[in-house]
């Protein structure tokens, strides 16, 4: 499988008044035309890893890597203009805070239409029809009504799906999806995953799927990276989750409340300082 993305020893550090916060501490992986899952503890650096690849790291942060390469392009030395161009077309990210990444003063439909029209030369009428079709594809009921709503007028799950629709209509080669389905109930979650799945299988898109839902990731992705305190502590074939070795991963599998089991209180992790070394 051809590699489209190489990340080698990526570090992201935030200087603050009370000292440096090392958000990402040497992350390495490669990605082909496949589904790569990233799971990990809250605050372990998943979003900051995605943002670094996208070029959305806050300006005051320090970012270094031995290699950060997308399809032959060295992302760290690429000029800002080239990165912006990549972001608009070949690489897309569904951010964890969808509603706040949408433009608050523009209707959802218009934002999708504008995204489409920057990528393809289509007429107004067709653009509208395709935007509505995309909203329907992500299972938004009453898509014509939602087309005209502003981001603050939609529910959590609708905002998330509007953002997904917008990213998909751009047809990126690499999609980084940061908790794209965390606000969706399971039925809709599966529909969205099916769309992403098709894009990987049919268009050869590469997908980085960031999620805290281990069950979901293991049923959907090819490979899973597990992060803890800014580092990758384990990489597994998705089907091999049951053989996880790291105590964090093992613990994760054990502390989820499941239907039909009654455990009060839920088992919790006994985090060891050496996990964060």
């Amino acid at each position: 499988m051809s590699t489209m993305l190489t990340v080698d020893n990526l570090k992201v550090t935030f200087p603050t008044r009370t000292g440096a916060i090392e958000a990402v501490r040497g992350v390495s992986f490669t990605l082909g035309r496949e589904r790569l899952g990233i799971v990990g503890e809250s605050g372990s650096g998943k979003s900051q890893t995605g943002r670094a690849i996208m070029g959305l790291t806050p300006a005051h942060a320090k970012i270094t890597a031995k290699t950060l390469n997308f399809d032959g392009i060295d992302l760290l030395s690429a000029p800002a203009k080239a990165r912006r161009a990549l972001r608009g077309s070949r690489i897309a990210m569904i951010l964890q805070d969808p509603k706040y990444s949408l433009n608050p003063v523009m209707s959802i439909g218009r934002q999708i239409v504008e995204t489409l029209r920057t990528h393809e030369n289509v007429g107004k009428r067709e653009a509208r029809d395709r935007a509505i079709a995309m909203l329907e594809a992500v299972q938004i009921r009453d898509a014509a009504r939602v087309f005209d709503l502003h981001p603050h007028e939609v529910s959590g799950g609708m905002g998330q799906r509007a953002m997904i629709a917008m990213m998909l209509i751009a047809g990126p080669e690499l999609l980084i999806a940061d908790e794209p389905t965390s606000a969706l109930d399971v039925t809709v979650q599966l529909d969205v995953l099916r769309i992403l799945d098709e894009l990987v299988a049919e268009r050869g898109m590469g997908l980085i799927f960031i999620s805290h839902d281990l069950r979901l990731v293991s049923s959907f992705c090819d490979r899973v990276i597990v992060m803890y305190a800014g580092k990758i502590v384990e990489e597994l074939a998705a089907t091999d989750l049951g053989n996880a070795r790291h105590p964090y991963t093992q613990g994760l599998l054990n502390c989820m409340p499941t239907l039909g089991t009654s455990r009060h209180p839920l088992p919790v992790l006994d985090r060891q300082p050496e996990w964060a070394l």
Binding site: T18, E41, S42, K99, E153, A183, H212, L216, M256, V268
Partner: protein, 251 residues
């Protein structure tokens, strides 16, 4: 049952769209009540209406046997009822420090003992005192959500409206937060209304639940019914099937 909180034929309208359509629920004191249902069905709207944040077009909400004003809530109300919003990005002011965010409700309600309470609240949600002087825009999604929970708990309300309180958390932190919520409910006899799309979480936390669809309550059942599959609505049945995970077609 004596209801601490109830909605009677509650209707919320945005222009001619009914986000809530004659919804009635009753929640007993000390109970933990779950709300599930498809995206856009009105779960957040119901909690927001209780908190005075949605335009009520009909029906009423009763708290402790007294009807609430349609859209005004006074300080006493927020002393009693606190809400954790679905969206941790929108509900915390990004340019305020965690310390300031936690001080604010204490100051508004004249609660003494701020120092001890802040340290305890941070500790309870698994964020040490090193987070105290961070700005909320310097936090990850799950860290924000935990601050939002700490902020709601810190003034020790009687009723918590919890809108997807753990959906941004990994399972390990989720387990800690759920344990904390259960423990404070037991210790302080709190009442919860909790929205979650995760059936494992709702049945773990709640004794009874309501299923919503298109602005209406379409099914009421106990967690035991749900677990045993005693369901009448197709939507609820689909939820059960789908919660088993992603199945690739032809695989």
């Amino acid at each position: 049952m004596t209801a601490i909180l109830s909605a009677e034929n509650l209707t919320v309208a945005y222009d001619d769209f009914l986000a809530l359509d004659t919804v009635s629920i009753e929640i007993a004191a000390g109970e933990s009540f779950g709300l599930v249902g498809e995206s856009g069905s009105g779960k957040s709207t119901l909690l927001r209406a209780v908190a005075g944040l949605a335009p009520i077009a009909g029906g009423r909400i009763m708290l402790d046997g007294k009807p609430l004003d349609a859209n005004r809530r006074d300080r006493d109300f927020y002393r009693k009822v606190q809400m954790v919003f679905q969206d941790p990005y929108g509900s915390l002011h990004p340019r305020q420090t965690v310390d300031r965010l936690l001080q604010e409700p204490l100051a508004i309600h004249g609660v003494k003992d701020a120092e001890r309470r802040i340290l305890r609240a941070l500790d309870e949600v698994g964020l040490g005192s090193s987070f105290r002087f961070r700005y909320s825009h310097q936090l990850s999604g799950g860290q924000r959500q935990r601050i939002a929970i700490a902020r709601a708990l810190i003034i020790e309300p009687q009723i918590m409206l919890l809108d997807e309180p753990t959906s941004a958390l990994d399972a390990s932190v989720q387990a800690e937060v759920l344990n904390l919520l259960e423990q404070v409910r037991r210790d302080r006899k709190l009442t919860y209304i909790m929205v979650s799309h995760d059936l494992g979480v709702v049945t773990h936390m709640c004794e009874r639940l309501a299923v919503m669809k298109n602005g209406k309550v379409v099914e009421r059942l106990s967690s035991a019914d749900l677990v045993a599959g005693r369901l009448s609505e197709d939507y609820t049945k689909n939820l059960m099937v789908a919660s088993k995970g992603f199945v690739r077609e032809g695989a």
